[in-house]
Amino acid sequence: MSKVQFNHLSMRFPGVEVLRDISLDVREGEFVCILGPSGCGKTTLLNIVGGFLQPTEGEVTIDGVRVTQPDPRRIFVFQERGVFPWLTVEQNIGFGLFKLTEEEKRARIAHYVQLVGLVGFERSYPRELSGGMKQRLEVARALAVNPDVLYLDEPFGALDSITRLQMRRELLRIWQAEKKTILFVTHDIEESVQLADRVVVMSQRPAHIQRIVDIDIRHPRDLSAPRYIQLRDSIFAEIGLAHQV
């Protein structure tokens, strides 16, 4: 079933055309990566879906309803800088839960502290956590309000490469456990092939959809399997890079 629909979306800022005629259907529970070079307008696209920006033309609908403003049913996850540094881990996770009773809130916080592996750090402040922990905290804060869609904007970009791999595994585990629809923006080809059901390859500015690649490999994915390498290389080729340095 279709969850998020982009209908002929275009975006122009004074003097620059950023997005051109983007149409895309994201199914419920699907993991879609939006892949493109830096500065191509991926983040703008995500901001429009998130309701933070209005498109010049076209519209985004979720469950058939037009998106006009941010909505707690769809949460945006930034790089780890998005956690509130003045709140502890449990206060951060509880941030969006102001409508629940104290008891429900406590249970929800405990569940997500557990899910993202921050047990023992409930009373810690973000400055006492590593980059990867902060990133998990932000994911937990987003999941705690039980959204049906998550938007992730290059969430692992600031992490070291080992932590990044671990975080991808964590994210897949959480996605399979919680059955969310995920839109994930990245400029990392490997990352997109490791994570997504489908990779949407964007062009240079003005960005349009260049190709949509189905990643027909089951999780957990073997990163040296021929099919993985084949898909990865086809995307490298699509972007115009021979896969060699």
Binding site: F52, D71, F76, W86, L87, F95, R127
Partner: protein, 235 residues
Amino acid sequence: MAWHLAIVLSPSTLIPSPDQAFLGIVELAERGLLLRYIVASLFRVTWGYLLALVIAIPFGITLGLYKRGELALNPLLQILRPISPLAWIPIAILWFGVGDVSAIFLIFLASFFPLTVAAMHAVHNIEDIHLRAGTNFGLSRTQLIRTVIFPAILPQLIVGMRIALGIAWLVVVAAEMIAVNSGLGFLIIDARNAGNRYDLVVAGMILIGVIGVILDAMMRGLEKLDFVRWGYAEP
């Protein structure tokens, strides 16, 4: 030591030596003036400063949030800001007469501008990401101010509060030299007028310095609070 040596070597007899100044403090204590004057000065600072906090912080936040208000009022603010609060003394006396209210008004003015500007700039410096996260979770405007904007500006605000309190303390002493008949500023001017008691003058200066340091240390204590420490570079 250096002070003592300089006094012994200098020909002037007016400037007291350290022990004379110390005896001056003891004399003030014996006459019951020490505590009375300190309390009088602190009383004026407390009221003037608190009043400024209560008005300037919401005002500064509002200016920071609403571009239009800032455009309208910032020029006025920038012109009023560099005027020494002491320049307001004649007007203060005209409006409030000679007495506590005038002194409190001067302290209010002295702390109001730095606090307003600190709050306004702190709002400008809030990370856009935090505001957007707050909006994303469906907060109302007031919830956003209470749970995101205020905690986000607090570290910078505390720095502004520290500076403002320092200025307030400077100003109370000056204001007391003119507008009232108690307090540490009054002590200094009165000791000089009543028979060149320079031991008491210097005693007053020492007290002002020591209390200033204590006030600043209290404000520094605020910077150690767990929920604002993120805002300062780790030492």
